[in-house]
């Protein structure tokens, strides 16, 4: 696992991918920070929560090649014939991507320090929001990694992951109004729309994620993200295992 982690982590910076992702994070972090600083609202958690939108678009780039490229280059034959389990290969890759993502939030430490010198800040709200964005990232990385294990093409992997991320994180449910029922058909239709909205709400991480920004600490929310991450890592291992049987 350590060998895979080291290699993957290095490879992010042997190619422009790692730098591009970090550049995007640092750019938007700075823009958001300047915004709150000039507006006089010392809420670093707002900066971090806003980064979720950036993460949606940037994370597919981080995960698109993570497994698909190995199969394309046939390197998977070295990985899967080495005396290591599939799970540790997948975990190594996951942790490498997660490490790059986490490094993307290092500047917030400096921002928090700057704020602390100037105004009184709620330190716990910084920790909660940071925890939230990291958990969200772990989730999105595991989903992206699973998608990457399904295809040999990094482009297809990136596009599908992006679409899934958008469905998951934009609150589409709010945009839909349930029609008022007038007759029998209308009632059925209203019920269907209601179910659809309910489904979208359940699929969306947004409600859970926002709790982290509102200084509400809840073990349930943490477990929610961790379990989704675990499920997709497991699915990824299964998908690789299935390839052996194909």
């Amino acid at each position: 696992m350590t060998a895979i982690f080291k290699r993957e982590f290095k490879s992010y910076f042997a190619t422009p991918i790692g730098y591009t992702v970090l550049a995007a994070f640092y750019f938007f972090l700075s823009v958001f920070f300047v915004q709150i600083y000039s507006a006089g609202v010392p809420q670093i958690s707002w900066v971090i929560m806003s980064m979720s939108t950036v993460a949606i678009f940037v994370l597919p780039v981080l995960t698109m090649r993570i497994i698909s490229e190995d199969r394309k280059q046939k390197v998977d034959q070295a990985l899967f014939t080495a005396p290591v389990s599939l799970t540790s290969v997948v975990l190594g890759k996951f942790l490498a991507a997660f490490a790059v993502y986490a490094i993307g939030f290092l500047p917030t430490v400096i921002f928090e320090a700057i704020l602390m010198f100037n105004v009184t800040v709620n330190f716990m709200s910084y920790i909660y929001s940071l925890l939230g964005i990291l958990l969200l990232g772990a989730c999105l990385i595991s989903i992206g990694m699973f998608i990457s294990s399904l295809t040999e093409s990094s482009v297809i992997s990136a596009i599908i992951t992006l679409l899934i991320n958008i469905v998951i994180l934009f609150d589409f449910a709010k945009l839909i109004t349930v029609p008022t029922a007038e007759n029998a058909i209308g009632k059925v239709w209203a019920k269907l729309v209601e179910w659809f909205v309910w489904l979208l709400e359940k699929l969306s991480f947004m409600t859970v994620f926002q709790n982290f920004g509102e200084n509400v600490f809840s073990i349930a929310d943490i477990v929610y993200f961790l379990s989704i991450t675990a499920v997709f890592i497991f699915l990824c291992v299964r998908s690789l295992e299935r390839k052996r049987w194909a």
Binding site: K6, Q73, D76, A78, F80, T81, A82, P83, V84, S85
Partner: protein, 338 residues
């Protein structure tokens, strides 16, 4: 060391490997011979744990690859058909990664140094793999298989894409490694297998059709020695003249290979020496025989014939593993070859 029992692999409806069994003792160097698509790579992928089996089992040093994958894989060095290389890494960096991946216990630097020297890539150790030529990539792939000094080496067409000098080097290397390793080597080139392996397993259409020493196979396969004669003559007349020699089964003109002469491929009937007769016939027609050679390519041709047969039973018949039912069948076979 390696024990394969009733191995089958099905891809959808296609049966890629069907009921293959063999055993390889410690220290043996065994060649897998078969045309492309015969199932050699599939068997190797199963042995190394990359693919699962549909039926049957494979054991490495007593460890079933499905039940104890880590113990089994630890004993194997695998060079797949396409070397598994991270092209964005440098050669030494990549081998260090493989070393970590395989959790090797020996001291790192001397071990990698030794391998780099052994496969002669020490002078490119700091170059990016993507900038290396096919031959060098193949050697890096070879080096990767050697990391950790595993007892069993499984090499899938290790000399493909190399120039003749490199081929000889790799063959020598395999021969040297064969002294203290168990090696399975696949190839579709018979002479290559002959050069390094004592024992040959022939695989065709997913089935094992022969398992014997290279020498035995060679004698079995080349029971009919075809001759190539180079004669200064007119093509048509000589073709007729040669065909009427007693004991000659067929004559084919190979065309003009050297200015002023023609080459003929002469196939005698089994166990008949016709060399003297050919010489006499040429002289009696007042022509000059420039050369008369045993057709060295015939081994290849017989192998081709073996693998191009309509079904594997026919191939086994050619090898003598099954009794020959009737002569007519084999004869049509030989015509196809020409």
């Amino acid at each position: 060391m390696i024990k394969v029992t009733g191995l089958s692999k099905r891809y959808g409806t296609h049966l890629a490997v069907s009921n293959v069994s063999f055993e390889i003792a410690k220290g043996e160097v065994v060649g897998f011979l078969g045309p492309n698509g015969a199932g050699k790579s599939t068997i190797m992928n199963i042995l190394t744990g990359y693919l699962s089996t549909t039926q049957g089992s494979a054991e490495i040093d007593g460890f079933n690859i499905a039940e104890f994958p880590e113990q089994a894989k630890r004993r194997i060095g695998y060079l797949p058909e396409i070397p598994p290389l991270y092209t964005d890494m440098k050669v030494r960096e990549y081998l260090n990664f493989i070393y970590d991946l395989k959790k090797v216990k020996f001291p790192k630097k001397p071990h990698i140094d030794e391998i780099l020297k052994l496969v002669k890539i020490d002078h490119v150790e700091n170059r990016l793999i993507k900038n290396l030529s096919k031959g060098y990539r193949q050697r890096v792939g070879f080096a990767q298989a050697l990391v950790g000094n595993p007892d069993v080496l499984i090499l899938d067409e290790p000399t493909v894409g190399l120039d003749p000098k490199q081929i000889i080097e790799i063959r020598n290397l395999i021969a040297r490694l064969g002294k203290n390793h168990t090696i399975i080597l696949s190839s579709h080139i018979l002479s290559e297998i002959q050069a390094v392996c004592k024992r040959v397993i022939i695989i065709n259409r997913g089935q094992l059709i022969a398992d014997d020493t290279a020498q035995n196979l060679a004698t079995k396969l080349s029971s009919d020695h075809t001759l190539v004669a180079r004669i200064i003559c007119a093509e048509k007349d000589m073709l007729e003249a040669l065909q009427t020699i007693k004991g000659v089964k067929s004559v084919t003109s190979l065309g003009r290979k050297e200015e002023g002469s023609f080459d003929f491929l002469i196939e005698p009937e089994t166990n008949v020496d016709i060399r003297a007769a050919v010489f006499d016939r040429v002289v009696s027609r007042g022509k000059t025989l420039l050369s008369l050679t045993n057709n060295s390519a015939s081994l290849e041709q017989v192998f081709l014939r073996l693998t191009e047969t309509a079904d594997n039973d026919e191939a086994r018949r050619l090898l003598g593993t099954i009794e020959e039912p009737e002569k007519a069948e084999t004869q049509t076979e030989e015509k196809e070859e020409n």
